[in-house]
């Protein structure tokens, strides 16, 4: 509860601040607090992803973006009433959707009754993998995982090509100052 209050406080700070450099730092702090919330909810793997992606990678990416733009946000030209209205409606619909969910951590929730018992009973004789999660990811959903991996591989190659092309152009012609438009 304390952590959620802190999260709300940081979010309001991010919305109100105009210095984007401070906003990036606050984003990193937000990610670590969010990871703490995940830990308290006993989802350590999700918390690990949140900390590495949110606090590690996206801080660096945001700083790289700040290098190309200005660090002060300009005042918005239109009033924020309509976006606020849409956001409140969306949030209300999402909260309404959670009303039908089973209580947190209950054993006979539908997600535990569908295919999970089958995996628990048959994963070792059918796949021979001692870890059930690994057997689901790599054997039962093997094609799915293969597709995800190839998508990530292609994205990585594309990013590498983009970075390399930019660096070659910078080295060949007049360097200027990056892409400072």
């Amino acid at each position: 509860m304390v952590l959620l209050t802190l999260l709300a406080v940081i979010t309001i700070g991010v919305v109100r601040l105009r210095n984007l450099f401070a906003v990036v730092i606050l984003g990193g702090a937000y990610s670590f607090l969010m990871a703490s919330v995940m830990i308290v909810l006993d989802a350590v793997d999700v918390a690990m992803t949140e900390a590495s992606v949110g606090a590690g990678i996206s801080t660096v990416l945001m700083l790289g973006t700040l290098y190309l733009t200005k660090t002060e946000e300009v005042r918005p030209v239109h009033t924020p009433v309509l976006p606020l209205f849409v956001a409140i409606i969306t949030g209300a619909v999402l909260v309404y959707g959670t009303l039908d969910l089973p209580p947190f951590g209950i054993a006979d929730a539908p997600i535990h009754a569908h295919v999970a018992p089958y995996y628990f009973q048959n994963s070792i004789p059918e796949t021979g993998v001692p870890n059930v999660v690994t057997s689901v990811l790599a054997s039962y959903r093997g094609y799915d995982t293969l597709g995800e991996t190839s998508v990530i591989f292609c994205a990585g190659i594309a990013v590498l090509m983009l970075l390399k092309g930019r660096r070659a152009r910078k080295g060949a012609g007049k360097p200027g100052k990056g892409g400072k438009a």
């Binding site: 406080v9 702090a29 700083l63």
Partner: protein, 92 residues
């Protein structure tokens, strides 16, 4: 005892958040965010012991590395205005 430590760490997180939000200079914010990261690591450790799973400690080490990377990136950006700088002193 772990419960008391958890409460204390939550208080530390609140104070660090206040400093990160109010901090007049960038360094206050960087230090506040770094303290929040450290508090998250400690919270991970105490919650791990509270729930009887002390192997959470290994994950705390990863958090510490990530925290260091984030802080170093922010400080390097502040010093040189660029992340791809080699690290020498600026000439001008």
């Amino acid at each position: 005892m772990f419960a008391a430590a958890t409460v204390a760490i939550l208080a530390v997180l609140a104070l660090a958040t206040i400093r990160t939000l109010k901090g007049p200079t960038v360094f206050d914010r960087v230090l506040g965010a770094n303290s929040i990261g450290t508090g998250a690591i400690l919270l991970l450790a105490t919650v791990g012991f509270l729930t009887g799973r002390p192997e959470f400690l290994d994950i705390g080490i990863t958090y510490a590395l990530l925290n260091l990377i984030g802080t170093l990136a922010v400080l390097k950006f502040f010093r040189y205005g660029d992340l791809s700088h080699a690290g020498e002193e600026p000439k001008d």
